[in-house]
Structures are given as C-alpha cells and as structure tokens.
Symmetry: C2
Subunit: 191 residues, 2 copies
C-alpha cells in the first residue's frame, strides 16, 4: 500500500478531471493535479505514462475483453456476430460511476487536440486488436479490417448513446451495432 491515504490513482483521475473542466487541459500543470490529489509530480508519472493518459485508463482492459470475446465466439459465428459479441463483452466496465463523469470526460477530450489525438489512437488500438482476433479465426484480412472498423464505429456511437440514455450497455451496443449494419445495407442498396 502507499503511505497516507489509499486510492492514489483514483484521486489523481478525479483531480485531473475537475481541474481540466475548471481551467482547461492546457492551463493545468501536472504538478497542480498531483498537488490537489495530495501527491507529487513524480507519483503522477508513476501511475500514468503521460498527462493525457490520466483520462484513458483501462482501455487495454477493454481491448482484452474484445479480443477474448472474438476468440471465444462459437465457430459458426460470422465476423460481424463475433464483433457484436466483442462489444457486448465490455458491458462490465460500463458502471454507474463511469457514466457519472462520462460527459465531463468527453467534453474535456473534445476541447483539446492532444486528447483527441490520444482518443484516436485508442480507437485504432481497438480496431487492430479486433482485426487480429478475427484473422486468427480465419477471416480474410480485408473483411476482418472492415468488420473491426464497423465495430469501433458502433462502439463509439453506442458509448455516447449510453451516456445519454443510460440502461444496460449490452442492450445499447446491440441496438447500435444493428443500426450500423442497417446503414451498411442502405449503402449497398443505394446504387
């Protein structure tokens, strides 16, 4: 355990989120975040790779859940079914507490280039993870890439929808993914 208070990591996240909302991301120094959390700059960088990462914790866990679900999907399942399973598999991470500061987090990210950059990288990470997992099932390269990209798209739209409407994320994800598939169908029929 650390010394003094526990939950250093969580305290840093909260302090960062609050300060970013109050003053903006670029006007907030790491030392200031650490200070509000009762810690120091050194400790901040022990918990997070860089200043951006404080807003993107647990994304690797998400990627793991996704690839796990794709690998574990029944052999008869098609690529799109496997991707849908990947989205549904992340349901456990969508807690009430996460929903509570979700909008605040999204607003901060939207307001800063560095953060949108990091967000984009995380999404690419998801796409790569799912593409690889699909290829391991024997799905051809390009089909795997397309299916994964559609999955990421649905994941993002689903996340925003979940923040607005609440409820079970698995439900929302299934509905959103179905909408995406419908959109694909419309595109095909359009010409």
């Amino acid at each position: 355990m650390g010394r003094w208070e526990p939950d250093a990591r969580e305290r840093l996240v909260r302090a960062a989120l609050d300060l970013f909302s109050e003053q903006g991301y670029e006007n907030t120094a790491v030392a200031q975040i650490a200070e509000r959390a009762g810690l120091t700059k050194s400790t901040f960088f022990r918990h997070f790779r860089d200043k951006r990462e404080v807003l993107f914790g647990g994304q690797d866990v998400l990627a793991g859940l996704m690839t796990g679900a794709i690998s574990g999907a029944p052999a008869e399942a098609g690529p799109l079914e496997a991707v849908e399973a990947a989205l549904v598999a992340t349901v456990g991470t969508f807690t009430d507490e996460r929903r509570a500061h979700g909008p605040q987090r999204l607003a901060v990210i939207a307001g800063n280039d560095e953060l949108r950059e990091r967000s984009a990288l995380k999404m690419v990470g998801f796409a790569v993870s799912m593409t690889d997992a699909l290829k391991r099932r024997g799905v051809p390269e390009l089909e795997a890439a397309v299916a994964a990209e559609l999955g990421v798209l649905a994941f993002n739209h689903g996340y925003e929808r979940w923040l607005e409407t609440g409820g079970d994320f698995a439900e929302v994800a299934r509905r959103t993914f179905s909408d995406v598939r419908a959109a694909v169908g419309s595109l095909e029929r359009a010409e």
Copy 2:
C-alpha cells in the same frame, strides 16, 4: 524569400526524415534537425506546429480535395460513389518524389507511438471531413459515417499498395475501394 538558401521547409523535412531513420525519432532533437537543415529551432517551429508535424505536411490539402470531390459529385451518385471520387481526387498529391521516401516515412511512423498517434488523428480528420461532406449531400448520419470510414480504410490500404506497386494512384484507389466493397458484401452474406 528567406535569407540564404531557399526551400527551408523541404530541407527540414528531409533532415528530419533522415535523422529519424538514422537515430530514431525520440533520439533526435528538434535543434538537431534544424541544424542539419542549416536553420534554428525557432525557424523549425515557424514551419511546423510541433515535432511530429514535420512528417504529416499537406494532410489538410488532402482533406480539402476529398470534401471537394464529394461536394462536386453528380447528384445521382450514391455515398459510396462519392467517397470513391474523393479518393481518386487526391491523385495529384501522389508524386514520384513522395513515393520515393514513402516507405522510409512509414517505417519511422510505425516505430514511434507519438507518430502513430498523430497518424491516427489525421485519419480521423479525413473521416470527419468526408462524413460532413456526405451529410451536406443529405446522406443520413450513420450511413455517412460508415461510408467515410470505409473510404479511410481504402485510402490507407491503397496508399500502401501504391508504395509497393507504383503506377497511377487513381487506379490503385479504385481497385482497393472495390476490394473493400467486396469485403463488405462478403460480410453481409456471411450469416
């Protein structure tokens, strides 16, 4: 004109690319790039927003060409046809000289997180640009997003294919986009 030699920007790009290849991106300081180009740190940052950007010049021009092509596509064209036109419209930027150091550039980007991050942001930028342009044509939100995402996917694969095979980028783009559409068809038929 600047003082002394002309083409400061190009010299900086070349120096950066070479140094990154020789020593790696993180082991190269901006001051060093500037020095090899016969300039100073100040001048570097006058030409490029940050150290990463030296490898991503002209991406905004690409986005402009894409949205222009989508806006200018015939009214009867479907979203996918418009996106294909967007890819083809970028052909003018794919010069021999760009093809010459393309692989070197890709290798450097692949080897560094910051650069892959910037690359991801640029791709998201393309997707957003194309999505907006499609929406302005009356394409529903989700269909526009899917079509744009497929376009970016094809653009990336097309770029790599073009680096390998050479030839006219418009040709390569059309073929790649057709492959992507075929992959989408396979996914649909898969279940």
